[in-house]
């Protein structure tokens, strides 16, 4: 067995690699190095002043990095190893639907015909792309139960902006200036932020003891000034609102629209459709339910589907199908009486994400999508049961109800009081166990919230292991809370000083601002 070396010496050895100083790409390399070989000048040399007068020219080249190609590769490969990722471990980040990202999608998205297709290519020469988008629109419309789809928005938040602007356009077209948007206190931050950006005012709705919308509060606030109700269903508590029909009725009765935040669509694909619940507008997060990889914070894609009454206002361009089946882009420009809210971004949206989402839908098909949602809900409930069985829910009770949809929210309140560790400590300690923690401190109305979304692509073994880890951390905290409070202990860095970072922000190399 191991030679007799004192613990502290071994420990010193262990940290030698970790002490590799962290240098940025700007602190590496040497002047003059580069990877790029510029193609030779193959046209006649011309007077620089004639090409671009001195006063328009840059005085000094931007101080970009100067490294050889092997250095660049090594720098970023090494950086990558300082990231936790979904391909390496369980990532039950609530509300984010961290499901497996099949590599097939990367393969098909990389095909030259998709990846090197210019966005202004003439539609006759982009028929494959337009057909793909057409098919994806159709599939998303069917899944939402709302027939009119626009793929353009770049993320969920962008889809929300589109949705609120559509609602405005709808009311304005009818001569109404409604300025309120209702949103429950469980809503995601993008909902109220969007309302403000769209020039309207948020009115917060209370949550009832079952975790749904407080109907009395809704009735009280649903007046003629209300443009829209924004809802997530199942909501961010993992609760499917049992009163959804009544809610829709109330909102429609005052002439307002219903907006469905589709971030939680993974619970209900093929099982229940926003359109059938009475919603007018839905956004999808292709990077959640449809497994566009999250990329460390994007790219995303946030298509929207809308009802008949909202359709006239959809953004341009739209895809149209001609008599002979050929596809074209329709810009609405010059079309008399176009009511479109206009463009939300350049070109046609994040096509690369469409390719992946479409490949996913093709792979799963009707049954597969339903299976996915069923398994997502099964996995969440199993994990909940496994935690219950291990006694974890005693200190971390389920915030609402006893079952859940595809995710659930625990409250760390009792744990904080009884074990003197906070949800943050629990989360940090999970890092030492090789898990990405759940979403923490959201939704805001749950004390010390812990929001767990396992997704359908995880196995029972993984769920059991995670339940064991939570139980172990609670047991450990009962004995020595300090371990969790000072966690993590095994990560490349430990807890970081976020206060200092915000107080005196250093947001670029070697320059202190603010």
């Amino acid at each position: 067995m191991s030679a007799p070396l004192s613990e502290s010496v071994v420990d010193e050895q262990r940290s030698s690699l970790a002490d590799d100083p962290v240098l940025t790409v700007f602190e590496k390399g040497a002047p003059g190095r580069r990877a790029f070989q510029c193609p030779a000048l193959d046209v006649p040399a011309a007077d620089p002043e004639e090409l671009l007068p001195r006063e328009l020219r840059r005085a000094e080249a931007p101080r970009l990095p100067e490294l050889s190609e092997p250095e660049i590769v090594r720098h970023y490969v090494r950086l990558s190893k300082r990231n936790f990722d979904l391909d390496s471990g369980f990532y039950p980040l609530g509300s984010c639907t961290m499901k497996h990202n099949p590599r097939l999608h990367e393969r098909v998205a990389a095909l030259g015909g998709h990846a090197r297709l210019h966005p202004l290519q003439d539609p006759e020469q982009a028929q494959g792309a337009l057909e793909l988008m057409w098919n994806l629109q159709g599939a998303l419309g069917e899944i939402a139960g709302l027939p009119h789809v626009c793929l353009q928005p770049s993320a969920g938040s962008h889809g929300e902006l589109a949705g609120v602007l559509l609602t405005r356009a709808y009311h304005e077209d009818r001569g109404e200036q409604r300025h309120k948007v209702l949103a429950p206190d469980t809503s995601h931050g993008t909902n109220p932020a969007t309302v403000t950006m769209a020039g309207l005012d948020v009115v917060k709705l209370a949550t009832n003891p079952a975790g749904g919308v407080d109907l009395d509060d809704l009735r009280a606030k649903a007046d003629a000034d209300v443009a829209c109700l924004m809802l997530t269903n199942p909501n961010t508590l993992g609760v499917f609102d049992p009163n959804i029909e009544e809610i829709a009725r109330i909102v429609h009765d005052v002439g307002a629209t219903l907006y469905y935040d589709g971030a939680n669509l993974n619970a209900v694909m093929g099982l229940s459709r926003p359109g059938d619940m009475g919603f007018d507008i839905v956004h999808f997060n292709l990077h959640k339910s449809f497994t566009q990889p999250h990329g460390g914070g994007g790219p995303g894609s946030g298509p929207i589907a809308v009802s008949e009454r909202i359709a006239p206002y959809l953004p341009v361009p739209t895809i149209v199908r001609g008599e002979e089946g050929a596809f074209d882009l329709e810009y609405g420009r010059g079309r008399v009486g176009s009511k479109s809210i206009g463009r939300l971004r350049s070109f046609q949206g994040n096509y690369g994400c469409f390719v992946r989402a479409y490949a996913y839908i093709c792979s799963l098909g009707a049954d597969g999508l339903k299976d996915a949602s069923e398994t997502a809900v099964l996995n969440a409930n199993y994990l909940l049961a496994a935690l219950r069985e291990r006694g974890v829910l005693e200190q971390l009770p389920l915030a609402y109800g006893d079952l859940c949809m595809h995710e659930f929210v625990l409250s760390g309140g009792p744990m904080k009081r009884e074990l003197q560790i906070k949800t943050l400590d629990l989360a940090k300690r999970l890092l030492d166990f090789g898990y990405h923690p759940p979403t923490v401190y959201f939704p805001l109305l749950v004390e010390e919230a812990l929001m767990v979304e396992p997704t359908e692509t995880e196995t029972k073994e993984t769920l059991d292991g995670f339940a064991d880890a939570l139980a172990a951390i609670l047991r450990e905290a009962a004995e020595n809370p300090e371990i969790a409070r000072t966690a993590p202990h095994t990560t490349p860095v430990r807890r970081l000083d976020e206060v200092a970072a915000a107080k005196r922000p250093v947001i670029r190399q070697a320059l202190t601002v603010g």
Binding site: A35, S157, L165, H188, M277, G298, G342, Q348, R508
Partner: protein, 448 residues
């Protein structure tokens, strides 16, 4: 698993939670699932029905460009560690992604000559609109003055957003391809929140950014916003040097694929005073409790998840992976490489404009300096001429009138170059376009 939960079936989980009337009582009307190999075939077949820059000599540009994407970028963007995590909410296990953001921000600051940058926004056009929203938050004024040289998608997106946040958009015309300085200054009044131009503008012309900024400031101190093409910034004066307050743009040219328009990334840089009104994620440097250098998401009190309706923007998921491509591309080019690339484009674009202008029926649309894209005015029907070229395997560029929708752009052709378009390619375009122009003249003559 069902036993552990205490239900008899998965069905029961739904029965107990989802009211029957809103349950979908039938299968989705979608095709059945397919094996991986069949999905591959299907998507390959769709790809084969597109004519990409792989198959066609293409001079399309107008916001996205067929630059060569070095292969190390693919490798890095496909690494699980960068591809599959989400926003780095847990910095202890996300130092890789956070450091990339920090490096990216540094590179954007260097490019733009501005001191602060965020970690990406969606893309170029909405970045312009977001910059205008920042101006609105900053000064509360209600007019936005915009040069007609702005890319029409940016202009249209700005109009969409501005209608929402309550501002009026006023367009300033061009004069010989550049923003009419007198009209620009005249348009800016005390209620002007932002003054926006593009550099180079959508007609390829290099604007006098210093004069536009100074003129705007002198007139009424609006927030001066420029949409810039990052590939030009090795040789073009930096926005920061020229008095611009906020520089935004489309990052696709920096190591991102065309992808029929996305995903790519938008960049967003500004003067320090706007830092706390910036949209999006920002990574900052700090230390851990053991004193080790590290990075975190910072200034989050601007953001929607903290500030909700008082947030400076609603953006959440942005374009982290594409921004990684951007910073790796800039590192790959290197300091001198960006300059050399700019000079190469400048020389080839000059050559192309000169040579194409010798064709009968083609003349430059304006006399301004151009860097990587320029506009011609053709005698004849541009759609017909383009079709003739395309039939010869050459896409000669963008039909300007179709792009901008402006009647005065009829006859305009916007021709873009990248380092992949050699002199031989340009010469081929000269031949093909020359022939197309001649053929159209002939057709018209016959028709007359």
């Amino acid at each position: 698993m069902l036993a552990a939960i205490g239900v008899g079936s998965v069905q029961e989980l739904f029965d107990r939670q989802v009211p029957a009337p809103v349950r979908l009582g039938r299968p989705l009307d979608l095709p059945p699932g397919m094996a991986e190999q069949d999905v591959y075939e299907h998507l390959r077949e769709l790809a084969a029905r597109n004519v990409s820059a792989e198959e066609q000599l293409s001079f399309l540009g107008a916001g996205m460009y067929d630059h060569y994407v070095p292969s190390l970028i693919d490798m890095l963007m496909e690494r699980s560690e960068f591809l599959t995590p989400y926003t780095p909410y847990q910095p202890e296990i996300s130092q890789g992604g956070l450091q990339v953001m920090f490096e990216y921000q540094t590179a954007i600051c260097e490019l733009t000559g501005l001191p602060v940058a965020n970690a990406s926004v969606y893309e170029g056009a909405s970045a312009v609109a977001s910059a205008a929203y920042l101006a609105k938050l900053h000064n509360g004024r209600r007019r936005i003055v915009v040069s007609a040289g702005l890319h029409p998608h940016s202009l249209q997106t700005l109009r969409t957003y501005a209608h929402g946040f309550g501002a009026e958009v006023v367009e300033v015309p061009l004069k010989d391809g550049r923003t009419d300085l007198d009209a620009w200054v005249a348009a800016i009044d005390d209620d002007t929140s932002a003054a926006i131009f593009a550099q180079p503008n959508v007609y390829g012309a290099v604007e006098d950014a210093r004069a536009l900024s100074a003129g705007a400031k002198d007139a009424a101190e609006p927030v001066v916003i420029a949409q810039v093409d990052p590939i030009t910034l090795g040789i073009l004066a930096a926005p920061g040097e020229c008095g611009v307050d906020v520089a935004v743009g489309e990052g696709q040219a920096l190591g991102n694929r065309l992808d029929y328009g996305g995903p790519s990334f938008g960049f967003f840089a500004a003067r320090e005073q706007y830092l706390r009104r910036m949209p999006g994620r920002i990574a900052g440097e700090t230390r851990d409790i053991d004193g080790r250098r590290g990075f975190v998401l910072t200034l989050q009190t601007r953001e929607q998840h903290i500030r909700r309706e008082k947030a400076t923007s609603n953006i959440c998921t942005a374009q982290a992976l594409n921004a990684l491509g951007g910073v790796v591309y800039l590192a790959w080019l290197g300091r001198q490489g960006l300059v050399e690339l700019g000079e190469l484009l400048l020389a080839r674009t000059h050559y192309a404009r000169e040579t194409l202008s010798t064709l009968e029926g083609a003349q430059p649309l304006h006399s301004q300096a151009v860097i990587r894209e320029f506009a011609l005015r053709l005698d004849g029907d541009v759609p017909a001429i383009r079709r003739r070229c395309i039939a010869q395997g050459v896409n000669p560029g963008v039909d300007l009138q179709a792009l901008t929708g402006r009647e005065q752009d009829r006859g305009g052709l916007l021709v873009a170059l990248t380092e992949r378009r050699t002199r031989a390619d340009v010469d081929r375009l000269v031949d093909v376009l020359g022939a197309a122009l001649a053929a159209e003249r002939h057709t018209e003559a016959v028709a007359v």
